[in-house]
Amino acid sequence: MRFIYKTRYDQDINLAKHGGHKFWYSLLMVALLTAPWWLEAYGLAQLTFILIYGIVGLGLMLLAGFTGLFSLGHAAFLGVGAYTQAVLAAQGWPFPLSIAAAAALSAAVGAIVGLPALRVKGIYLGIATLAFGFIVEEVLARWESVTGGNSGKMVGSMQAFGWVVDSSEKFYFVCLAITVLCTLAVLNLLRSPTGRAFVAIRDSEISAQSMGIHLARYKTMSFAISAALAGIGGALYAHMIRFLSPDQFNIIQSIDLLLMVVIGGLGSVHGAFFGAAFIIGMPQAISALKDFLPEAIAQAPGLKSVIYGLVLILFVLFEPLGLYGRWFKIRTWFQLFPFYRKGLFKRQKAYQKSDRLK
């Protein structure tokens, strides 16, 4: 059992709470840094995808998990980032600049979408973002001079100041560096007054407002930051997938992203990465499972969506905090050993907060 004896105020906001954190996260970092040497090419590509989706997940987590606004059109921000990067890279911009531009453009778009968020809430916001997602997808498909329309757009390699990211190992390290930066930025944001304001808005808008939090400003900010992270993820995604078409950024992608953060665990930074690992790992698991299933079921194109749907239903019913919740329980079991009690995480009986009280 570990008991942290606090002697300084800094200990409340330190990123690493105790030596265990430092040790395990350093170990994770070492493992990630040496990944190209112990993973074969395919595994490395999957890991790169996990990092990219992790960045997008961080953005959506900030919005849905920490600010309590949920977006059904997040793929649109991903698309804006990806196409911006594709266009700028084709014009020879160095990648740090073009990724920053992709993030900025996505953030601007996100702020515009955030504007109706100030007037509408709950499901109306979801539908506003859904509508926006459809419109962006249509724009990407029709604006052929820039995006190549439905026939798609090829994306070349990343390059900056004469350095070309031409191998998958180099690209992996670029992704890893950006992911670490984004994660640290989000963690830092969450312990700052801004992050606390987000959480306050999530928990109760009215009490946040009465504490002096400017709802409009912080909601727009949350949308903009979330969209910027999605844009960065999109920029990397463009180089990873090397071929962009508007249907990669449709409603299904948006729902998949939402599914990712819910299964990962809403309201935790870990959850974004757990969810990304789930989204990337699941197709492998399903294809491994196919050998044990009858022909008719294994060959059905809908097998993936049935399994996703079932996993989602089971998580919402039995583990509302997602994979992170499961991990947290296991960790607590070890930390408290041998004092773990069965009812420690029993769900509180909750009563629905109505939005239409008179």
């Binding site: 109706p116 979801g126 993936k304 969506s305 239903i313 919402v316 019913l317 909750a350 939005d355």
Partner: protein
């Protein structure tokens, strides 16, 4: 004449949106959750009608009520097994749950050997018949859609106005706790509302099937019904139908008068404008939360 023609086809399409939106609104009023599975339930209803007619060889007039009844049962069971255990949890969880139901339904359809992966036309008695009224060319399928929607609306109006169950549903949707104190079995009513919503979705599916095709992705039309529900005001039953009609007509006119591509996004542009101008919709109640 052309305008009238466009209006009629827009209204017919709008009726479908309206019927799906009706399902959203029914569930929203009763349980304050939004069911994203509504479009997929519609798809399931259409497939059920198809299977009853082509595989089992039921005549049209028996197949339609039994498909609707089976879907109502499906709604009832789905509510009991999946939704009721987490009532009271944040609305977001329930929304994700309905996404899950939609995923499962859509995927499960493709697993039925020989059915799910193809597209079909529903063999209805009124297929491809046309009536000329003056210079107008009326498509019987569209007329049936409009007529059936009107009849269904009248039926629902009567249900909510005159029957005990309907009045109890209204009471529960206005204030669950007070309704519960008055001896209304709120939980059982919620199950009935899901059944009703699933039945309405099945009707929409059966009406839509002759106009388009039956296939596993039919449910994505449900996503156009959200704008319909929002334009009408999410908590209003007549609003859902009116919203549906508006979306249908706008879409039909946009498809003809505006450049290509606008037809697909017209519904979403309308809903964004609506959310900016009048977030509560045309018929929505303007309620404010107080501490």
């Amino acid at each position: 004449m052309q305008v009238v023609q466009l209006l009629i086809s827009g209204i017919a399409q709008g009726c479908i949106y309206g019927l799906i939106a009706l399902g959203f609104v029914l569930i929203y009023k009763a349980t304050e959750t939004v069911s994203f599975a509504q479009g997929d339930l519609m798809m399931l209803g259409a497939f059920l009608g198809l299977a009853l007619m082509t595989v089992l060889g039921f005549p049209f007039w028996i197949a339609v009520p039994s498909a609707i009844g089976a879907m109502a049962l499906f709604g009832l069971v789905a509510e009991r097994i999946v939704i009721r255990p987490i009532l009271g949890q944040p609305a977001f969880s329930i929304v994700m749950l309905t996404f899950g139901i939609g995923y499962v339904v859509r995927g499960a359809i493709t697993m039925i050997p020989g059915i799910g992966t193809e597209t079909y036309t529903l063999p209805v008695p009124y297929k491809d018949q046309i009536v000329h009224v003056g210079a107008l060319v009326l498509n019987i399928e569209q007329m049936v859609v409009i007529g059936a929607t009107a009849a269904l609306c009248a039926l629902l109006f009567a249900l909510f106005r005159y029957s005990r169950v309907g009045i109890a549903m209204q009471a529960a949707s206005q204030n669950q706790l007070a309704a519960y104190y008055m001896g209304i079995p709120v939980q059982r009513l919620n199950g009935l509302v899901w059944a009703l919503a699933a039945a309405v979705a099945a009707i929409a599916g059966l009406l839509l099937a002759p106009v388009t095709f039956v296939h596993a992705n039919l449910g994505f039309i449900g996503l156009k019904a959200f704008p319909a529900a929002v334009v009408g005001g999410f908590g209003s039953l007549p609003g859902a139908i009116v919203g549906g009609l508006i979306i249908g007509v706008v879409e039909s006119l946009a498809g003809f008068y505006l450049p290509e591509g606008f037809k697909d996004v017209a519904a979403y542009v309308v809903v964004l404008i609506m959310l900016m101008v009048k977030p509560n919709g045309l018929f929505g109640e303007n309620l404010r939360k107080k501490v």
